[in-house]
Symmetry: C4
Subunit: 342 residues, 4 copies
Amino acid sequence: MDLINVFDYEALARERMETGSWVYYACGAEDEVTLRANRSAFERIKLRPRVLVDVSQIEMKTTVLGTPLPMPILIAPTAFQGLAHPEGECEMARGAALAGTLMIVSSSANRRLEEVAAAAGGPLWFQLYITTRPTAQRLVTRAEAAGYQGLVLTVDTPRWGNKERSARYPLTGSTYKANFENESEGDLPDPSCTWEIIPWLRSLSHLPLILKGILRAEDAQRACEYGVDAIIVSNHGGRQLDGVPATIEVLPEIVEAVAGRCEVYLDGGIRRGTDILKALALGARAVLVGRPPLWGLAVNGAQGVAEVLALLRDELEQAMALAGCPSLSSIDRSLVRLSYVP
Amino acid sequence: MDLINVFDYEALARERMETGSWVYYACGAEDEVTLRANRSAFERIKLRPRVLVDVSQIEMKTTVLGTPLPMPILIAPTAFQGLAHPEGECEMARGAALAGTLMIVSSSANRRLEEVAAAAGGPLWFQLYITTRPTAQRLVTRAEAAGYQGLVLTVDTPRWGNKERSARYPLTGSTYKANFENESEGDLPDPSCTWEIIPWLRSLSHLPLILKGILRAEDAQRACEYGVDAIIVSNHGGRQLDGVPATIEVLPEIVEAVAGRCEVYLDGGIRRGTDILKALALGARAVLVGRPPLWGLAVNGAQGVAEVLALLRDELEQAMALAGCPSLSSIDRSLVRLSYVP
Amino acid sequence: MDLINVFDYEALARERMETGSWVYYACGAEDEVTLRANRSAFERIKLRPRVLVDVSQIEMKTTVLGTPLPMPILIAPTAFQGLAHPEGECEMARGAALAGTLMIVSSSANRRLEEVAAAAGGPLWFQLYITTRPTAQRLVTRAEAAGYQGLVLTVDTPRWGNKERSARYPLTGSTYKANFENESEGDLPDPSCTWEIIPWLRSLSHLPLILKGILRAEDAQRACEYGVDAIIVSNHGGRQLDGVPATIEVLPEIVEAVAGRCEVYLDGGIRRGTDILKALALGARAVLVGRPPLWGLAVNGAQGVAEVLALLRDELEQAMALAGCPSLSSIDRSLVRLSYVP
Amino acid sequence: MDLINVFDYEALARERMETGSWVYYACGAEDEVTLRANRSAFERIKLRPRVLVDVSQIEMKTTVLGTPLPMPILIAPTAFQGLAHPEGECEMARGAALAGTLMIVSSSANRRLEEVAAAAGGPLWFQLYITTRPTAQRLVTRAEAAGYQGLVLTVDTPRWGNKERSARYPLTGSTYKANFENESEGDLPDPSCTWEIIPWLRSLSHLPLILKGILRAEDAQRACEYGVDAIIVSNHGGRQLDGVPATIEVLPEIVEAVAGRCEVYLDGGIRRGTDILKALALGARAVLVGRPPLWGLAVNGAQGVAEVLALLRDELEQAMALAGCPSLSSIDRSLVRLSYVP
């Protein structure tokens, strides 16, 4: 089987993984309306290419919070990467290094954050749920000590989503959360967590703070007022509240509300270079990909991760060239139209 | 088979019930355009969750016309509950009591309203068609005497709808209307009934009066002028006039017309906690569920009814938590968007 | 098989007819986009019923150009009714009489217009294509002499449409055009026909003149200026120019342009009483049905025609009752909404 | 099998061609969203026919850049026509001559442009990619010498599109590019090509210059400023950047931007006479067809090409007659409506 796009990796990963593990990754919450919307929304957005632009050099180097990256594509935090590969997050980190990009390591990892850092060859951010403040504090301290360069606070998970499809298949793979000193510590997010967590988190480390899971302008506005360094527009891959919009649909209102005060990234449904181009045109500085690198990991370990990221990178380069955008700065809002025939 | 959402109860009820009984419950009028719309309309409405709100306590206690309820979910009136369970409405009433919610008992019940009241452990309202004024008067008097706390006048049924799918399957179960002293008495609604029925009904009892079946602003306005206590936005589960909108689509115009003068509830297509949340955000004080408790009744009697209601309650709690709404009063119009890409 | 709606008659007619004859009736032009649109457009239009209206008497008697009819439903002109029944148009005319409604007899009939008139028991209009002026003159003179009460000039057929589906099936039934004295006379419409045909046609008889096939406001405006008595909004059942809108979609612009200066009828896709109600709400005085009476004719001759018309009549009565419209005059534009969620 | 529309030719060509060759022609880029959109967009656009217009003579003669043509339909440039017929572009040119229309010969032809010119019996334009300036100069000089009457510069191809479906099937037919003196010369378009190529190309010959591949108003505006003679609105048959709109969707903005300063043609998804009529109504002077003549070529050589073009011509004539448009000048913007029910 040729592996010429990320869907090929998806199909092959499905063959190779245990069903329960596959479904755990693939599923969304409840009726999966949002899961499907994350994909279908991209299809409705149209590109408006420019012609006769010199695209002999396509420049997509960028920075996220000052960290230089070869491309505006990050690895999203996803739990239990051991379901895809025996080396789990360590192997994913090696793949990120091969691809030269930044990996956001989930706190719900099968491997300890220090192990992952040791395996990594590039920048890492650490994803955090607030379970208890002492636990969070220990994790932040450990992450900073281990060399993580950013702290991603997931804010859409006061409770775990109803992943019904997954609930119907036994998950035989490991859901051991290696970062927690005792089993129960990482099980339940603290539902009482409010915006006051932000200054408290700030006080624990020098790490920049990124909020993941913002879906409305009012919250983006507030995040700016609290001085966060970046926002990740995310619906948790359709795995939390079913019925929220596709992330690409709300990106414009978030970008408008932020008005340049912090960086904005988009997470959700990215499968093609043209998806990335659309997100950039609508104001995202970079995108996160979650499931695609997991597919690469399942298919071919670190090498597979790098292959998937290279595919997306090449597709983005191709899309930029065909759209007449030789650089990230040449990508603007006029490159997309949200709908045509009214 | 796991029963993790109400659709699981639907599937199991379908297996366990006689085909004719199943189809009688499942069907809509004519081409079932409205029946389908009741579901699909919810899917088009998107939720806009708030993050970093303290949702450690989700408070969904409410009142309907002063009656306290643990949740904004009522049991809609549905006919012939004996098709689902030998004890029919009595068993449903036991289920309502287990769930702690209010049941609206159909006048087209297999059991006498007094029997149902005797079986019940919680508040009941009595649903009424006007067949003749003497019959209606007898029923109202009996209902008040039996302890019913509200009178629900169904106003969308000057004739029975064309339930064609049901007409193609013999209904072998009982359609005996126990409340009527002779067989023919309850067969035909009076098509000449007008708004003047309202003051007449008022004169018969002290019960609050709820109109069920309002679908346009002008009628909601008029209902307020006639002093009704509440309006149920309903299209009779898609079983009366095919081609009317989904109820969730007309809810905003009704709420606007009512302008707080009476309570407004929504009936039609509720299958998920997120559906309830959308209805509340668009101005409903509570919702009615009709088929889901029937499925519970068919699957497991009163216990099944309580299970279905608990599922919906838990899903609503989950949806409120994930949407950042710790209380009913925190749910507002900004929580939903009717469409995204124009 | 129960015959409870017109779709049941459609299915049974399909079984009973020769394939070529069936396809000739069923097909539309080219890709049949318009054929499908005629149906799907009705589904998007929603009804806004009124409640608590006295609907004990539903009054749908009306007139078309002064001719009293028991209901606002006419039989559309359709060619070669001998494909459905050995007695062809004569049998259809008997069915129209049983139903008490008006039949528009196609000039492309298998039976001579005088034969049809002799078989009929109610009002007839005669449908005309202009092939040559002498031929047209002879037909008009004969029609007036035979007692026809109106002249329907079809204006959407300067050429025959590309009925591709029909072209793929041999039509073994008769396409003999009995009204024409020699075979070739009725074969080709005159493509040079312009608005000047109207005063000329007027000069030939005292019959009122109805234009069939108007689809845009400018033409409706012009028809009024030429003093026509009525307009039939029609796309020829999707059989002429594929890609024109559903007739119900253009009805509003026609009604607005006419502004009461002549009567407006709607033809195309009517299969339900609710379709008729929607057409009336959007300003049609009556509707034409073409294929449904053909199905009735194929299934059960004149009796079948009457049954189909009775079904539609009963469904309209039901729809009027459930919509709170006891009379045609109570049906207004506010009864429909063209779309809900924007 | 009857061949009554171009889809019939498509089906037969598919049977007769090697799979790899077929897929090469049929496929679009990546997920083929744009490929499908090119067709589906036409279906959403509705025609508004005029009636009672003299359509006894349908006049569709036109000119493109002064070259008289019997109809507003050109043959689009497509590569490797040898995949469809042993004589390749020479045979296509014979078909164009039989149809009396203009053929745009691809620079990626299996036959040398001089051979094609020798076989041709009507006007030819030469399509050009800029690979290197010397190569382009040689081709332009040769094309002018060989009697080509126009130069079509394709501007949407700084890189070859990702034709993934084609990549999955081996292309066993010839992809020899006969116009290039050595193999590598024609392989890669120059991605550094900018608007400055226009005056340079102008300086090489007296041929009029047509830009193919414009999809946004700003570029159309610029093309006019650079003095091009015509613009072809094209998305390369959905084979370059997936996710761009259907060409018919962007035609209005291009026509508006051009404001009559140069001719505008439409390329993409034309399969019916009504599609052509819609394009003309939205401001195109003519349309290009790419795949349909290839299907004709595969089915029946030059004769097949002529048959396909005759089908489209006849369908356009039919559409014009049924829409009340006896001449190209009678086709105006009011003939179409982009959407009906809002």
